[in-house]
């Protein structure tokens, strides 16, 4: 029952809040506390920034041998999504057939259950992505 480790990340996982370097302006998600380019000048000064959740697929795979807790999803689509603000994030693509996913497909973030610590434990919520139908159908 490891509670604090996941609780700490809640605002970032629930709301996709990234961090932005005050010096170079680069946006990071998952959030970083130090900008890899500006180092010391950014430590303790990174600003929180709300991301839109919109992006496109940079790469993907269909997972047949699942991670613990994902058995009911298999086969499931995992992807690296490039968010419109720049950073890339690793997440599951849902509400989409495996044969319909493609590189550069527009997607948008949704709020879903990620995993649970057994039937008695805490449910971890976070982001997954669905096809951005509006953008696709344009």
């Amino acid at each position: 029952m490891v509670v604090p480790r996941f609780w700490r990340e809640i605002p970032y996982r629930y709301r996709m809040i990234g961090t932005r370097c005050p010096k170079c302006g680069k946006v990071y998600f998952p959030p970083r506390i130090v900008c890899p380019d500006c180092h010391r000048e950014s430590y303790g000064k990174m600003e929180e920034v709300q991301l839109s959740g919109k992006g496109k697929i940079y790469s993907y795979t269909i997972v047949h041998q699942n991670v613990k807790g994902f058995k009911l999803h298999r086969p499931y689509i995992m992807a690296i999504v490039e968010l419109e603000e720049g950073p890339r994030v690793t997440a599951q693509i849902v509400d989409c057939k495996p044969e319909d996913v493609y590189i550069d497909m527009p997607v948008r973030a949704v709020f879903r259950r990620i995993m649970e610590d057994g039937p008695e434990g805490i449910v971890q919520y976070g982001y997954k992505f669905v096809p951005d139908w509006e953008a696709i159908e344009k």
């Binding site: 605002p11 949704v110 709020f111 259950r113 057994g118």
Partner: protein, 350 residues
């Protein structure tokens, strides 16, 4: 005047057809479809629950009109399938929209009318001046016992209303409730599936309370059915709302836009309010709506609503309409449905 400032709904993408469920249990699918007036119901994905549905619904509301999270003073979530028995869904939703920490939050339960109960309480908080905006949500991933008639319609979905006094798109002229202690449908603690009283759920429950609340409302507001553009009632199937509409004197045209049960089933706490959301998707300024929910146990909440010009000022197209979500459907078979709804005994750690 207090009213709805913005609204949003969410319906999961999966559907199962009534004849597919009938096939498994040896029922006559065509007959069931006809008697219920329902073709299919929505099924939540493996990673969806009342919390995720609530968050998607309120995010859709915020897409239509942005309310700064620090101005949201309360989040109340009504459901009969809260993810936890102890630990409120409302805190998860409040966190997900950034309304924490200065916010009141609590969960509601009143069978299928937990969402409208939440609405009434938010109205009270707003009217009293205690909060500027409040979020009222009704969402469910209700379970029907395998082989039970309720399995045909127990579905998943939800709707969120953000209620306030500024630039309301629909004024809530009045709300009242008709409540009695009537055991028509219940679930004891630690039981997986609900029990119900069969035909007892009709006259003494659904009809008595909806008719009671609707008549009281029209009395207090001094209105007649023809004064309303639309009427929407709790819809466990198509027969009941059509019959109660007729009894009250409403016609087909008035109830048609709000009738969503044929495609998505009964979303329990999301039920009547998702029908109301479908009406708001097409409503025009000046439209008047009578909305009456029903929750087993039992009670009905009635709302007399008038749509304002502000409905054309929010961006209704910024979020999917109920019709659009109904149309975006992926049909699954009973086996997948049983897997998704965890009706299969799974070994630990799956």
């Amino acid at each position: 005047m207090v009213g709805i400032v913005t609204y949003g709904s969410y319906i999961p993408i999966y559907r199962i057809r009534v004849e597919e469920i009938a096939r498994v249990w040896g029922d006559d699918g065509e007959r069931v479809k006809k008697s219920l007036g329902v073709f299919s119901k929505s099924v939540p994905g493996v990673d969806e629950d009342a919390a995720t549905i609530s968050v998607e619904a309120v995010r859709n509301a915020l897409r239509r009109k942005w309310i700064p999270p620090e101005e949201i003073g309360a989040v109340l979530v009504g459901s009969e399938s809260h993810p936890y028995v102890v630990k409120p869904t409302a805190t998860i939703v409040a966190e997900a929209i950034g309304a924490t920490p200065k916010v009141m939050a609590a969960d509601h339960e009143f069978a299928c009318k937990a969402g409208t109960a939440a609405m009434q309480n938010i109205i009270g908080l707003v009217k009293s001046g205690m909060i500027k905006y409040g979020v009222a949500i009704g969402a469910d991933t209700s379970q029907g016992a395998p082989g039970d008639p309720l399995e045909y319609t127990a579905s998943a979905g939800g709707t969120a209303f953000i209620i306030g006094e500024e630039e309301v798109i629909a004024e809530i002229n009045h709300t009242l409730s008709f409540t009695t202690d009537t055991p028509d449908f219940w679930r004891r603690e630690k039981q997986d599936y609900p029990q119900h009283g069969g035909r007892f759920t009709g006259e003494p429950a659904y009809f008595r309370h909806i008719l009671g609340a609707a008549k009281l409302m029209m009395e207090e507001m001094n209105t007649k059915p023809e004064d309303y553009t639309y009427a929407v009632f709790h819809q466990p199937n198509t027969k009941f709302p059509k019959r109660v509409a007729k009894k009250l004197g409403f016609n087909e045209e008035q109830i048609k836009p709000g009738l969503v049960v044929p495609w998505i089933g009964n979303t329990y706490s999301g039920c009547m309010i998702t029908g109301l959301s479908a009406i708001l998707d097409i409503a025009k300024p000046g439209d008047r709506i009578l909305a009456v929910s029903f929750g087993s146990g039992a009670g009905s909440d009635a709302f007399d609503i008038t749509v304002t010009e502000n409905i054309e000022k929010i961006n209704r197209r910024a979020a999917p309409t109920v019709r659009e979500m109904i149309e975006r459907a992926v049909y699954i078979d009973y086996a997948l449905y049983a897997k998704f709804r965890k009706k299969i005994l799974l070994p630990p750690g799956v």
